[in-house]
């Protein structure tokens, strides 16, 4: 139903107008969507566009500074940093989008249940979420990855788990304030079942504030994966991934090979920045009241 509504809204040409208006209103949102578009293009087509095989080593040209041949220089195994940075986009976006999607879904369900029905269920769920929050989240992610092994799936799971409480709490609060709203009473009078009221009437209205959280989390998920890579619990080599590239490149900064860390770092930062700046725009798009 939610998907149907979204699709319905997208089909509607009014939605496109709405989108354009939101872009025009705020230069930063415009910039963010532009960057998002750029990253999506790179993620989809990147592997076909890059000049070199990101995995091909050639020690003869190791550690060369940026040049026409190698825009971002080469790394310690002679791999083209530019190609690696571009190809990594897909993996990094996948990790963050999947992780956030997972925590979004699970968090929404838990939060909705706790917020709508309240009572012991609420207390129980809230305590569990508090317990997760009481962990230093990054360390919890480290622990999970260390325990389960450092595969991409496990990184996604770990990132998702540490993000669940944020969604759950937010949804819980948003559902709670709407639980007694009169449009919810009206929906009851209209014969909607409890689940239907929750899923169709209340939950979609929590989306605008959730979108801000989603965008922040998308960025944070990338940083989280990068941090895991930095301490050696990240993606396995030789897979190109920004975090691991920064982490490995960091050791080369002092010796003067700055391009190894700088370019992936820059990309990482731009991606996170894009997601973070996206928040307000996304919220406005999901808010029907912003429509004219």
């Amino acid at each position: 139903m939610i998907i149907y509504n979204t699709l319905y809204n997208l089909k509607n040409s009014k939605s496109l107008n709405h989108f354009i208006i939101i872009l025009r209103e705020n230069p930063i949102t415009f910039f963010a969507f532009l960057m998002l578009f750029f990253f999506l293009i790179t993620a989809i087509f990147g592997p076909y566009l890059v000049p070199y095989d990101p995995l091909e080593t050639n020690t003869k040209i190791a550690l060369q500074p940026p040049s026409i041949d190698h825009l971002f220089g080469t790394d310690n195994l002679g791999r083209d940093v530019f190609s690696r940075v571009i190809v990594a986009t897909r993996l990094d976006l996948t990790i963050s989008v999947l992780a956030v999607l997972m925590s979004f879904i699970i968090g929404s369900i838990l939060g909705s249940i706790a917020g709508y029905w309240g009572g012991w269920l609420d207390i129980f769920l809230s305590r569990i979420l508090d317990t997760i929050m009481a962990f230093p989240l990054f360390v919890l992610a480290m622990g999970i990855v260390a325990a389960l092994g450092n595969t991409i799936e496990n990184i996604i799971y770990a990132t998702a788990i540490i993000n669940i409480p944020f969604y759950a709490r937010l949804v819980r609060a948003e559902v709670n304030i709407r639980r007694e709203a009169s449009f919810v009473h009206a929906a009851k009078m209209a014969g909607n079942s409890e689940i239907k009221i929750l899923a169709i009437h209340i939950f979609p209205n929590t989306l605008p504030p959730m979108m801000v959280q989603v965008s922040l989390n998308l960025g944070w998920a990338i940083l989280n994966a990068a941090g895991l890579s930095f301490i050696g619990l990240g993606v396995r080599p030789p897979t190109p991934e920004w975090g691991i590239m920064v982490a490995e490149g960091a050791n080369f900064i002092i010796s003067g090979e700055w391009w190894l860390a700088l370019f992936p770092g820059l990309w990482l930062m731009l991606a996170v920045l894009t997601f973070n700046l996206l928040g307000d725009g996304l919220r406005d798009i999901f808010d029907p009241r912003k429509r004219v």
Partner: protein, 535 residues
């Protein structure tokens, strides 16, 4: 120690020499060049007692610097610059003299008369006996190392009188004397230790863990685990020439980039164990000592439990496919020694030595064609996260190269904690990198650990009957025994033919000095601060 060194008396003792100066809140004067040396390392010292269970390798330096042994090795000029210990030259430390009986079963030591512990009490044969008893009784690594020299039971050790100590051996071994010069059989102040022992803890493990009680060249002034260890000179040391510096601060800095910056800027005088890359790049800026580590090799292991590796042609194909030169450049930055492209026939017993293999993809393909695995196979190549600085580039290069002969390799990173269990204890890694180095510098010692079935570093599950008997018969005979050389050469031949371990290169231990001199390399790969001085 921790209790007794409060800040006040730290200042008192530390600044005794500088008492004329106005009272200093900071120690710039104290840290002035000639008095104090600052060393940085990436490792953490986790105990001051080598005998304790769980003591890590970085902590062995405390045994070297703070305690004395009966014997020590001499010094020689090292290959990579600076000095090195000399395996062939045994020198006295606490012993004044020693005599080996003709049958080689009884060794009698005379202890230096003027040797005293830090608390002023005399070093006696009873202290030596107690310390040796402790080393063979506590189990774990110390006892295993003692056993290598034939030292197994307390009843082998006797304190004849205050200054005379004897060791009885079950059978003579060329390894006994050198084994007394390794860090393990260090001599503890038994009186102090016993005073702090309990019935539950007869060897005073808890006490000595934090409070060293020795006679060595340096005392521990301050120890903050994970942060720093401060050594202070023992002016009454008799084990060797009095150290030139009064104080040595060993600071732990985990980030290698930071360590590099520190040494490059001259903020520290010595950086211990720097990465090969930094060593190569810093060589013309500061003094860099890259000593090839004796009896140590970086190797690629083919586990016999993994079926394709039971095929000799597969192993040879791999040995010809490995991009040695690239690895040496990318992983070792040209530091250390090359171990490929050696002579076909073996004339000498130098070890580590070049294997007869070299990078030749045609030959590699030839061998693959001969094997049962013409179409190739898939195998995970495991590396340890803790050693990723060399293992990772090496693995990636091997991965790429082997793909050309049809072997599909996936690189598998294993966290440092599980590495040992998986690789050495359970020996379940099909294809992996390994870096064993033997303390006692003889090839048979290396073979004992790395080629005998069931032994810890034989992570390839290799078994060869001839090697088994060769090692057993060679390990304890003296090197000038006529059987020695032929036996060793035979071992080499088998090892290169069977290839459970494909040698890649001999790594170097890199140390950068900027404002200090006198660095000496030791087989235990820990820093001996005693010969250091500042420039």
């Amino acid at each position: 120690m921790n209790k007794s060194i409060t800040r006040r008396n730290f200042v008192k003792t530390g600044l005794a020499g500088a008492a004329v100066l106005p009272f200093l809140k900071s120690m710039p004067a104290l840290a002035s060049k000639s008095n104090t040396l600052v060393v940085v390392t990436g490792q953490t010292i986790n105990s001051l007692d080598l005998h304790r269970k769980g003591t890590n390798r970085a902590s062995y330096q405390v045994a070297v610097n703070c305690y004395d042994r009966l014997l020590s090795f001499g010094t020689k000029k090292a290959k990579g610059g600076g000095y090195s210990y000399d395996y062939n030259k045994i020198e006295p430390e606490l012993a004044e003299s020693w005599v080996v009986s003709d049958d080689g079963l009884l060794i009698t030591f005379k202890i230096k008369k003027n040797a005293t512990f830090w608390d002023g009490s005399k070093v006696t044969a009873n202290d030596v006996k107690w310390s040796f008893d402790r080393a063979v009784s506590v189990g774990g690594f110390p006892s295993v190392q003692m056993k290598a020299g034939g030292l197994v039971r307390p009843d082998q050790f006797t304190a004849i009188n205050e200054e005379t100590f004897t060791i009885k051996l079950d059978k003579p071994s060329k390894l006994t004397i050198p084994d007394l010069a390794v860090p393990v059989p260090f001599i503890i102040n038994a009186t102090v230790a016993k005073a702090n022992a309990t019935t539950k803890d007869p060897w005073a493990m808890e006490y000595l863990h934090k409070n060293p009680a020795g006679s060595g060249a340096f005392k521990v002034l301050k120890w903050s685990p994970g942060e720093q260890l401060v050594y202070e000179r023992n002016d009454n040391w008799v084990g060797g020439p009095t150290p030139a510096v009064k104080r040595v601060v060993v600071r732990e800095v985990p980030s290698s980039a930071t360590r590099r910056a520190l040494i490059e800027k001259g903020d520290v005088q010595l950086s211990f164990g720097i990465p090969d890359k930094d060593a190569a790049e810093l060589a013309n800026k500061v003094d860099v000592f890259s000593t090839p580590i004796e009896n140590c090799m970086h190797v690629l292991c083919t586990n016999r439990k993994f079926e394709p590796f039971q095929d000799a042609d597969v192993r040879k194909a791999i040995a010809y496919a490995v991009p040695y030169e690239d690895i040496f450049k990318a992983a070792a930055y040209g530091r250390g020694s090359k171990l490929w492209g050696g002579e076909k026939t073996i004339q000498d017993i130098a070890w580590p030595r070049k294997s007869p293999y070299y990078t030749d993809l045609d030959k590699a393909k030839e061998h693959m064609q001969k094997s049962k695995y013409k179409d190739g196979f898939e195998v995970p190549l495991s590396i340890s996260l803790g050693l990723s600085s060399w293992m990772e580039p090496t693995a990636l290069l091997i991965q790429e190269s082997l793909s050309k002969i049809g072997i599909k390799v996936t690189v598998e990173k294993i966290p440092g904690a599980s590495w040992r269990t998986a690789a050495l204890v359970e020996k379940k890694l099909a294809f992996h990198l390994e870096n064993f180095g033997g303390w006692l510098n003889t090839p048979d010692y290396y073979f004992f650990w790395a080629y005998k079935e069931g032994h810890l570093f034989n992570s390839s599950n290799y078994r060869n009957e001839e090697i088994e008997s060769l090692v057993d018969s060679t390990l304890h005979i003296p090197m000038d025994d006529p059987k020695y050389k032929p036996n060793i050469i035979r071992m080499f031949e088998i090892a290169f033919e069977d290839l459970p371990r494909i040698p890649l290169y001999q790594p170097a231990l890199n140390v950068a000095a900027n404002g200090s001199e006198g660095y000496e390399f030791w087989f235990h790969r820990q820093l001996d601060v005693r010969p250091l001085s500042s420039t």
